[in-house]
């Protein structure tokens, strides 16, 4: 697991970590306590307290001006009959599958191709990785230019004789969501590749040697050595993908604002526009709670793993 093993890799300390419990004096010095409490306070003010409020607000009806009115589970009942919510939830699942699945598969493929230590491989890796440092807004604008009616994509299609496929990619309800996923993938694949590159590097080469001696072919070695050895990285990639998918907002917001007619709406964009444009803060909070519930499984399993490793 990349997260939890990394310290040993990067550390200058040559000896393995001591697992002794006697880390210091039994009584915690006041300065150390202050060291802990100041960051904890910052997080409590900006995260824990607001999170609790968020859960409470999901049970209210609130326009942000008058006092919130407690309505119980009415917001969640309203969701059941809300077509936009149903669409947004469906798109979010589709996003999870397409964006998540493709970035994992293509990221692994890119890592397998670029794991070989050849001359020039650093350049290729950097090329694939470069979009990761762009903001999603800048990424979105780049692709918006490509998708324009007179943009590069349509001109390319014309030049190879596929005039029939020319399209207003972002303005068409049938293509908008997919047109938004592509830029997100362009940026995510390099990131996933880096995670897999580190995982592949950690595989003991003697395992491949042994498999070769036993007569395993390329595919068999991949299937029975590489994949099982990548289990830890897979878990990390899976968490990254699910958390990133549910957080996806910037790229959709910059390209389509969820339109046309909610055809590229995700739960995250719907929550934002409900809260800050329609000013339905209670219903917006309830949508946020739904996102939280979807993310909760990942968060919990991540914390369980972290708990096990945190000695």
């Amino acid at each position: 697991m990349a997260v939890l093993t990394a310290p040993h890799r990067g550390s200058k300390v040559p000896t393995p970590p001591s697992r002794g419990r006697d880390r210091g004096p039994g009584r915690t010095p006041p300065l150390v306590l202050a060291f802990l409490l100041v960051p904890l306070l910052a997080e409590a003010v900006w995260v824990f307290w607001p999170a609790l409020q968020g859960f409470y607000l999901s049970l209210t009806n609130w326009d942000g001006v008058s006092a919130p009115e407690f309505v119980g589970l009415a917001n969640f009942r309203e969701m059941a009959g809300d077509d936009v919510f149903r669409d947004a939830a469906g798109h979010t699942v589709l996003w999870l599958v397409l964006f998540g699945g493709l970035s994992a598969v293509l990221g692994l493929a890119a890592a397998l191709l670029l794991q070989q230590e050849r001359r020039g491989v650093g350049f290729y890796r950097a090329a694939l990785f470069l979009p990761v440092v762009f903001s999603l807004v800048a990424t979105a604008l780049v692709w918006q230019a490509i998708y324009q009616p007179d943009g590069v994509l349509n001109q390319l299609l014309s030049s190879v004789g596929l005039d029939g496929l020319r399209h207003a990619w972002l303005a068409d309800q049938d293509t908008a969501l997919y047109a938004v996923i592509v830029p997100a993938l362009w940026r995510q694949i390099g990131y996933v590749m880096v995670l897999y590159l580190a995982g592949l590097k950690g595989i003991d080469p003697s395992l491949y040697e042994a498999a070769k001696v036993d007569g395993a072919g390329r595919w068999q070695r991949f299937r029975h050595v590489t994949l099982p050895q990548l289990r830890g990285v897979n878990a990390v990639v899976l968490s990254v993908i699910i958390i990133d998918s549910l957080r996806s907002f910037d790229v959709v917001w910059s390209l389509t604002r969820g339109g046309p007619y909610h055809s590229s709406e995700l739960l995250s964009t719907y929550m934002y526009s409900t809260a800050f444009q329609s000013l339905r803060l209670g219903y917006g909070s309830a949508l946020a709670v739904v996102i939280f519930v979807l993310a909760f499984g990942v968060i919990a399993s991540y914390l369980v793993r972290a708990f096990r490793e945190a000695d």
Partner: protein, 284 residues
């Protein structure tokens, strides 16, 4: 952003590697093509694009677009805002995180495991659950629509994750080093400042490169706690630019180049740290 296209040199290598370079090269070109397109578009004149289309071969060269985006488009102010937010955020977040990680990894603090996971858990929350309360909270504190609000929420939301990563790193430092220092009469501050912090430098370098781009590229928190255009960081300003210069792709492209330049510079300068940081920070 001067990424050289793959030259003929790698292709001339032995026949055995030709396939690799062909495949990887095609992939790299495919990946760099959108970037090249933006760079080219940012250097073309509006008339050229209007007459020949975005996808045509450039027939003009001008740097005016950058001037337009920089001054009239408000990119200059936005970039300053972004840096005013990002630099203190990176420094304060990492300082706070290092302090907490030090306390949690080197001392028997009561409930240390639960505290560590509580802090990490806060960072894993979907930001959506926090947006409404945070915007109301900053109104209550009288900092709504000011940069300190954005700095505050970025620090509060980010710190838990860095605590977790740095805790893992500091835990691997042998106890004996600390014990020797304590024997020589060093207090917690000396142990932190003279011993633990210097040994944590690789992780801090990696995390600073990473957190710089994360905070610099953020859009959601900025549009949640800020309202006026004059306060917006570069990401939000870029969306504003898109509205201001509708279909003037030359200006929008120039704005995108300006917005991406700082993080690309950080990436090219600290590439090694950056990749190390991503592997430390596989959570994001």
């Amino acid at each position: 952003m001067a990424i050289p296209r793959p030259t003929a040199a790698p292709r001339r290598r032995r026949a055995a590697t030709a396939g690799f370079h062909l495949g990887a090269g095609a992939l790299a070109v495919l990946w760099l093509l959108p970037i090249a397109l933006v760079l080219v578009t940012s250097l073309r004149s509006f008339d050229d694009i209007a007459a020949h289309g975005l996808g045509s071969w450039p027939r003009s060269f001008t740097l005016d677009n950058f001037g337009l985006a920089w001054v009239d488009g408000g990119q200059q102010r936005a970039l300053v805002n972004s840096l005013v937010v990002t630099v203190p955020c990176v420094l304060v977040t990492l300082a706070l995180a290092a302090m907490a990680a030090f306390a949690l990894s080197r001392y028997e603090v009561p409930f240390r495991r639960s505290l560590l996971l509580l802090m990490l858990g806060g960072n894993l929350l979907p930001p959506q659950i926090l947006l409404i309360p945070v915007s109301k909270l900053s109104e209550m504190m009288g900092v709504f629509d000011t940069l300190p609000a954005l700095i505050g929420v970025q620090i509060g939301f980010g710190v838990g994750f860095y605590v977790f990563v740095l805790h893992g790193f500091m835990r691997s430092i042998p106890v004996e080093i600390q014990q020797a220092a304590v024997m020589d009469g060093a207090g917690p501050w000396q142990v932190f400042w003279r011993i633990i912090l210097p040994l944590t430098r690789p992780a801090l370098a990696a995390l600073s490169a990473l957190s710089f781009t994360w905070i610099f590229n953020d859009l959601l928190w900025a549009i949640t706690v800020l309202r006026s255009d004059s306060k917006m960081p570069i990401t939000a300003a870029l969306i504003g630019l898109q509205g201001q210069y509708v279909s003037m792709w030359n200006v929008i492209a120039a704005g995108s180049v300006i917005a991406a330049a700082p993080t690309v510079a950080v990436f090219l300068r600290f590439q090694r740290h950056f990749v190390a940081g991503l592997n430390l920070g596989a959570v994001k």
